[in-house]
Amino acid sequence: MIRLENVTKYYPSSLGKQFIFDNLNFEIPSGHNIAILGSNGAGKSTLFRILAGSEYPNKGRVVTDLHLSWPVALTTGIHPQMSGAENARFIGMINGVADLDAYVNRVRQFAELGPKFDLPVGTYSSGMKPRLAFACSIGIDFDIYLIDEVTSVGDAKFRNKARKALTQKSKTANVIMVSHEMDELRHFCDSAIVLHKGQLTFYNDLEQGIAQYQAL
């Protein structure tokens, strides 16, 4: 269970405060794989970052007893001057992985970057960075994975692999996912949260949520 209590979040801008959420109270039920639906700029990524503790709301708080991943977006927390292996090791250290060498090896095998894994991330192509980011997060056991469009990049082979890994994980863990590809969402998720004008609505049935979202 993740509970949002009186969450207010705005960004300062030259036009005054841009409110994303204003005094929002909401409970995200556990045991669901949830798709987050919303138009561009509705605040999906902000919601993600607040859930993960990467950012803090201006007022209110997030209460949870679960172990959440960091928001796995395209290049979160990956340093361009360090190699893939060093980045993986860094992420492992921060998250308290017991056997770092084994973890780095697992990331190496999963990401399939070949010799590039030992070269600086700055030299990677744009499809390779998300592969590394995804491999790093899937290598650690979380209760909930926060996945932001990562599975929809990369080539067909990697997407397949990512799907398999996530499906495997979903037996013991849950995902909360942002994606604009409905096929992707239909594959992983069973319910949906529609984010519209700073309000969240939970739909137990994914199709119902998608229908609602497309009607907006």
């Binding site: 970052r49 990467s54 803090y56 959440l68 979160t76 990956i78 921060i94 998250n95």
Partner: protein
């Protein structure tokens, strides 16, 4: 599968700071000169300045060898400026890492500060070793006091760095003003002059500056014959403590909003 160690908050802190520290080592000296630059840069300065001043006064400045006179000045001002500059930029530099809930801004400041303290300590020891091998005489009458002075100066630099780093999150223009404000410090902190060169009635223009206190005190600690009349340990430590607690309080009330902008 992956076993995650259940850690208490202190263990998380320690692991994060260590990880950031390793990362700092990997990324700070990434060009071909590498770590050697950290040694060559101050050494070149010290040699140049002590040569110039040595020409004027014959190798001895107020009873201590000119080389060591310059060494303490140069190392201390560089310790201060490097720590200050890198700590104040570290929040901006590591911003992407705050996506991990375990990484807090203060950890990044501590890791950066510790790294630059160790670099300067190594340079100091290396210079002593070089002096030993080329047969230069040196004396350190009170090593403990030098360490304490360096530590106090470092604490001041880190506290100021933390303050600037946080203000920078709200007002990004600070970084431009910062370089204008820090540049004169090199010239007013007794790096290449001594308070004994300055007439007593003008001391009050200079002695508000804790860096100057740290430098003069360290020269006095190395050679007790060198006069420390113009400076006081009490002033150095008090300004260090006040800045330290002030910056921590500012940090405590504002860090969550500072990284959420």
């Amino acid at each position: 599968m992956t076993t995650i160690i259940k850690r208490n908050n202190w263990a998380i802190w320690r692991d994060v700071i260590f990880a950031l520290f390793v990362r700092e080592i990997r990324t700070s000296f990434n060009d071909r000169l590498g770590l050697a630059w950290a040694v060559i840069n101050p050494l070149a300065f010290i040699f140049m300045l002590s040569y110039l001043r040595g020409r004027m006064n014959g190798g001895e400045t107020h009873s201590i060898p000119t080389f060591e006179f310059m060494m303490y000045g140069m190392l201390f001002i560089q310790l201060f400026l490097d720590t200050l500059m890198n700590c104040s930029n570290s929040l901006k530099k590591n911003k992407a890492l705050f996506a991990f809930r375990q990484v807090q801004p203060i950890s990044s400041i501590i890791a950066t500060g510790a790294f630059y303290f160790l670099v300067k300590l190594m340079v100091y020891l290396l210079i002593l070793v070089i002096m030993y091998f080329i047969g230069m005489d040196y004396r350190i009458d009170d090593p403990l006091s030098i360490i304490i002075n360096a530590f106090a100066l470092w604490l001041i630099a880190m506290s100021l760095g933390l303050l600037i780093a946080i203000f920078q999150c709200y007002v990004p223009e600070i970084s431009k003003i910062q370089s204008v404000l820090t540049r004169p410090l090199f010239f007013i902190s007794a790096v290449f002059f001594s308070m004994q060169d300055v007439p007593k009635e003008y001391w009050h223009y200079l002695d508000w500056n804790p860096i100057l206190h740290a430098i003069e005190l360290s020269r006095h600690a190395a050679y007790h014959s060198y006069s420390s009349e113009a400076v006081s340990e009490f002033y150095l430590f008090t300004s260090g403590l006040i800045l330290f607690f002030f910056s921590l309080s500012i940090y405590h009330i504002s860090w969550k909003q500072a990284i959420s902008r």
